[in-house]
């Protein structure tokens, strides 16, 4: 796979055979642990060049240290987010918002959206989130002693919470999950089809809300004003598409990896079951150990960064799963310690693009684990089954069959 030529300005000794897509443990793997697999980069230099490290097969610089990632991500002037990852799948060029805008334009939209997902607002959403978790888990508990956590709990829980936030009904949940799978994990044919379907869906929803206002997210967006003006159609689409995609996969993946860990570590499982007050702190450690996302920036100018000759236009990868296993930042980074304090992990990114949904995502994971552990007795991975994990731009876990017979 690693066939891209190395750009002339990259010293050959800085090139390493590493890729979030093709390195060992990254393609779909039975019983894999892709996070532990990438942690091995810390045996090498703090910054290096990978010839194949994005979904569309580009080379990137790889920043491994948490402190260096913080520097890159806090400096949006040098390291831009403007790269049209989504629309380029369609051969187009418009930004998802706020993800692919840089300050100062970015801040205007963040200020518009922040109150919708602030810690205070999330507190108000919590009872509905908990009710949904309880409903799903009680159904699972009543119907046997085994289930596929991803299909029966993680996806329906995360996606329906999110649809409720958007003001959309649950009845098309499976369709939406399918779109998300094709978009994030599909092949070169499936991805553009999924992207086009999502854009058409968002455009249509925006048109409906323009015609008739209801009390929901999309109505808020089509009615919103920034700097005295209504948003353009492309801006509405950029926000709608991003918020839709951001909530489809991430929380479900986190819950999947967390329950897989607990299924394999019965002592930790029992500790959290008997002392649920520990779950919020444990959730931070699980976010540190199993974050799903790689962040990409584009250099806006030539810069020598910590010894790396980065040139204008170079792609720079800040993978949260790599920062979170940095031994310079975390003592014993590959040990999962559910009581870890001062855990300033990078799961939600650093800098102005810090995950807008982080307060909701955190609470969903905590509530999901609380209600699961309160209702499901000691569980393991069902004998004869093996979860399939994968690396890539967004790490994933499929097919997690748990058993508590």
């Amino acid at each position: 796979m690693a066939t891209n030529p190395v750009p002339d300005h990259v010293p050959p000794e800085m090139v390493r055979d590493f890729s979030l897509f093709t390195s060992p443990g990254m393609p779909p793997t039975l019983n894999g642990d892709p996070h532990a697999a990438v942690a091995r980069v810390h045996d090498g230099p703090p910054i290096f060049y990978s010839r194949y490290n994005t979904q569309d097969g580009r080379g990137t610089w790889v920043i491994t240290r948490a402190a260096d990632q913080r520097k890159v991500l806090q400096d949006a002037e040098t390291f831009s987010s403007h790269r049209s990852i989504f629309s380029s799948i369609l051969g187009e060029n418009w930004p998802t918002i706020p993800l692919e805008l840089d300050p100062p334009a970015h801040g205007v939209f963040r200020s518009l959206l922040n109150p919708l997902l602030s810690p205070k607002r999330v507190l108000a959403l919590e009872p509905a989130v908990r009710e949904r978790a309880v409903e799903l888990i009680e159904r699972i508990a009543a119907s046997g002693t085994s289930c596929d956590v991803m299909k029966d709990f993680a996806f329906p829980f995360a996606v329906s919470t999110f649809l409720r936030f958007l003001g959309l009904p649950d009845d098309r949940l499976d369709t939406f999950v399918g779109w998300g799978k094709d978009l994030l994990h599909g092949d070169d044919k499936e991805r553009p089809v999924a992207a086009r379907t999502i854009v058409a869906f968002i455009d249509e929803l925006a048109a409906m809300r323009r015609q008739e206002a209801v009390d929901d997210f999309m109505t808020f967006i089509v009615q919103a004003q920034v700097e005295g003006r209504r948003l353009t159609d492309t801006q509405v689409r950029g926000i709608g598409v991003l918020v839709f995609v951001a909530g489809l996969d991430t929380v479900a993946a986190a819950i999947g990896f967390d329950l897989a860990y607990l299924a394999r570590n019965l002592k930790d499982q029992q500790l959290l079951r008997s002392e649920p007050d520990r779950i919020p702190l444990a959730t931070e450690e699980l976010l540190r150990a199993y974050p799903p996302i790689q962040l990409i920036r584009v250099a806006t100018k030539d810069i020598d960064f910590e010894g790396a000759p980065i040139r204008k236009g170079d792609y720079v990868s800040c993978a949260t799963m790599i920062a979170n296993r940095d031994p310079a930042e975390f003592a014993c980074p590959n040990t999962i310690d559910l009581e870890r304090e001062d855990n300033r992990h990078a799961a939600f990114g650093y800098g102005p693009h810090r995950c807008l949904g982080s307060h909701l995502a955190r609470r969903e994971i905590v509530i999901g684990l609380e209600e699961w552990l309160a209702r499901i007795p000691a569980f393991r991975i069902k004998q004869g089954t093996a979860p399939i994990t994968s690396g890539g731009h967004v790490f994933g876990i499929e097919n997690l069959i748990l058993d508590w017979s």
């Binding site: 922040n114 001062d342 800098g351």
Partner: protein, 63 residues
Amino acid sequence: MRIIVQKAKCQGHARCAAQAPDIFKLDEEGYILPSDIEVAEGEELPASRGARSCPERALELTR
């Protein structure tokens, strides 16, 4: 004890407020209020925990 707040660095992670909501006050968007924080006697422990929890390093403790 004082906490120096570098407001420009705050990105609204709200980890400080999760540790000590009465010490670290957030605005409507969920970002820290701009002024430095005078820590009351007896509150040093939660205050320093909160300051240490900031992923952006926006909070600095001084004596």
